[in-house]
């Protein structure tokens, strides 16, 4: 018996015209896991979700839910529920009827339907609008109704297709937290599609980054943020400073890149056995780890990588200072730091500075393109 709630085995989606929407998607999701799909629009994340829901046919590969094959089972026979971006609330039914609908088709006895609907209405605080139709609901209420309607049937997996996309920023934040708490309480597996990286990172136990129909990386949020495995992830997730060059040495847990600013080292984000010296590579440094120093500042005991540059601008926003540093005519970097870290150190526009960071924080990725 498998421990996974959801398994995707080499799932592919090819449209009749020959367009490949999703290529060789492999994923294993444990019970109760919150997994986010993130990527730019058209990357295949929604298509993949719709294949799991059964709303889109699977060209090849296998879809397993709790070990059972559901590859070609129609939507209504899958133990999943889907929350849509536009909520797709039935406009001719009241809130109560919307929630009860999924139970009624399962021939649940009517007193049981009433009990379960009441529980959901109470849990999601829809009591005031229980007998109203969609037209009378606010955006947040519609969102909660869509959620309640999906949860009342007690699905094994809840699929959410950009469910917060239509909400304003404040509501979005609070519902993000509610969703996370709800998921923890229910212990149901959530698959959450979003185009916002911050949402994916803050909500997911693991995050799947997709680009052009392919999975770029599947990692826990912090690892994804600090240890990208591909140039796309390095650019799409987080605020990384990226310097290109050629791979010099490859060792166990350590690699170096020859760049135009000298030799930079870091942790390889690739399989060391698969790479050869001389290959195009990127040194990726999360900007949070980069310090701005004068060239004559003493360097402590830790070995640091550094590059030299000239300060071109300093923007002060309250306690925060944004320092723009020109490294050469191809690369300007903008760093965020605090006023008290920089004040009184003789750093101002025009200063020659050194950017320093611990090479342990650097990730080296291969640049195929």
């Amino acid at each position: 018996m498998t421990n996974f709630d959801l398994e995707l085995v080499k799932i592919r989606k090819v449209y009749p015209g020959g367009t490949v929407a999703v290529e060789d998607f492999d994923l294993q999701v444990s019970k109760g896991e919150f997994i986010s799909f993130v990527g730019p629009s058209g990357c295949g994340k929604t298509t993949t979700l719709r294949m799991i829901a059964g709303l889109e046919s699977i060209t090849s590969g296998e879809l397993l839910i709790r070990g059972r094959n559901f590859t070609h089972v129609p939507t209504e026979k899958r133990p999943t529920s889907t929350i849509f971006q536009n909520y797709a609330i039935f406009p001719h039914m009241t809130v109560r009827q919307n929630i009860a609908f999924g139970l009624q088709v399962r021939n649940v006895p009517s007193d049981e339907v009433k009990r379960r609907v009441d529980t959901i209405i109470e849990k999601l605080e829809l009591g005031d609008v229980a007998d109203a139709k969609e037209s009378a609901l606010s955006g947040g209420q519609k969102q909660r109704l869509a959620l309640g309607r999906g949860l009342v049937t007690e699905p094994e997996i809840l699929l959410l297709d950009e469910p917060l996309g239509a909400l304003d920023a404040n509501l979005r934040k609070s519902i993000q937290e509610e969703l996370k708490i709800l998921q923890r309480d229910l212990g149901i597996t959530f698959v959450f599609v979003t185009h916002a990286q911050s949402e994916a990172l803050s909500m997911g136990d693991r995050v799947v980054v997709m680009n052009s129909g392919r999975v770029e990386q599947i990692s826990a949020p912090f690892e994804l943020y600090t240890r990208p495995k591909s140039p796309f992830v390095a650019r799409f997730i987080g605020r990384n400073k990226i310097i290109d060059g050629q791979l010099a040495e490859i060792g166990a847990g350590r690699a170096t890149v020859q760049t135009r600013f000298g030799l930079l080292s870091g942790v390889p984000g690739f399989d060391p056995a698969a790479a050869r010296p001389g290959a195009q590579a990127l040194a990726v440094v999360p900007s949070e780890y980069v310090g701005v120093h004068r060239a004559d500042d003493p360097r402590g005991d830790t070995p640091l990588d550094s590059v030299k540059g000239t300060v071109t601008a300093m923007d002060r926003v309250g306690q925060v200072i944004y320092v723009s540093v020109r490294l050469d005519d191809r690369l300007d970097v903008r760093l965020e730091t605090y006023r008290d870290k920089l004040e009184g150190r003789g750093i101002e526009p025009g200063s020659e500075v050194e950017l320093r960071w611990n090479p342990e924080r650097t990730t080296i990725v291969l640049d195929a393109g």
Binding site: A53, G54, L55, P74, T75, E76, K77, T80, S81, T82, F84, N86, A88, I89, F90, P91, H92, F101, G102, V105, R106, K133, E134, S135, A136, L137, S138, G139, R149, G150, T153, L159
Partner: protein, 285 residues
Amino acid sequence: MQQLTATRWVLALYTALFLAFLYGPFVVMAILSFQQGPEGGPQFPIIEWSTFWYKHVLGFAPPSRVAPLPIGEALTRSLTLAFATMVVSTVLGTLTAQAFRRQFKGSGFVFYLVVLGMMVPGVLLGLGMALVADQMDIARTWWGTAFVLHVVYTYPFAFLVMLAIFNRFDKGVEEAAWALGVPPGRTFRKVTFPMIFPGVLSAMLFALTLSYDEFPRTLFTGGSEVTMPIAIYGTFAVEIHPNLFAFGVLTTLFSFSLLAVYGILMSASVRRANARASGIQEDVA
């Protein structure tokens, strides 16, 4: 400003003429239906105002030299035929439009095949059907051959109305129902159908009215038991009396009451839709 006023006058005149031609015949007919009877004829001047011809139509007038309109059975036939046509055409039209929501092989061909039914001249179609029926020894009846042609004629109208309705239909709610575990058949009945109902109502109205006063197709295929339009036409051949006008007024009033029912049902669903739309606006604000 001068020019604007001139344009307004021209448009006003145009509108007045339009209304005069549209409703003039009916108004004249309505006035003449109150002609004195049985001596008064279908022309001005009005000898004396009376409701004699209404009584005559309804069979309350004393026997006179003017024969009563042969409408009793013909009216029942026409209404039965129109109702049956309405049901069959609307069901067929809705199902066909549902099929057209997905592209299928030969969909273009099938589209023209269906729409052909309203494009082919009615007289030719009626004549053709009569010939075929004779060849194949099929009796020509209002409930058989004529009924088939009524469906052929009204089904494309119902189909086109429903096609337009489905064009604006959000597939998302159906997907939501499937995702809740509702099988497709039940989704259609419980979700899709209630939402497209205003369109179905329009399709029904089209089919009903088109069939009710259908003439050329029925003329050749209706057989000896005639429908309303054929019966009326038959009386023209002898002599026209104002009882026809009285009958015309009565059927028009009947049509208006049908339209009123349609209007009430329609505005109720439009109100619901508007409420929905304003609900969305509130969200944006």
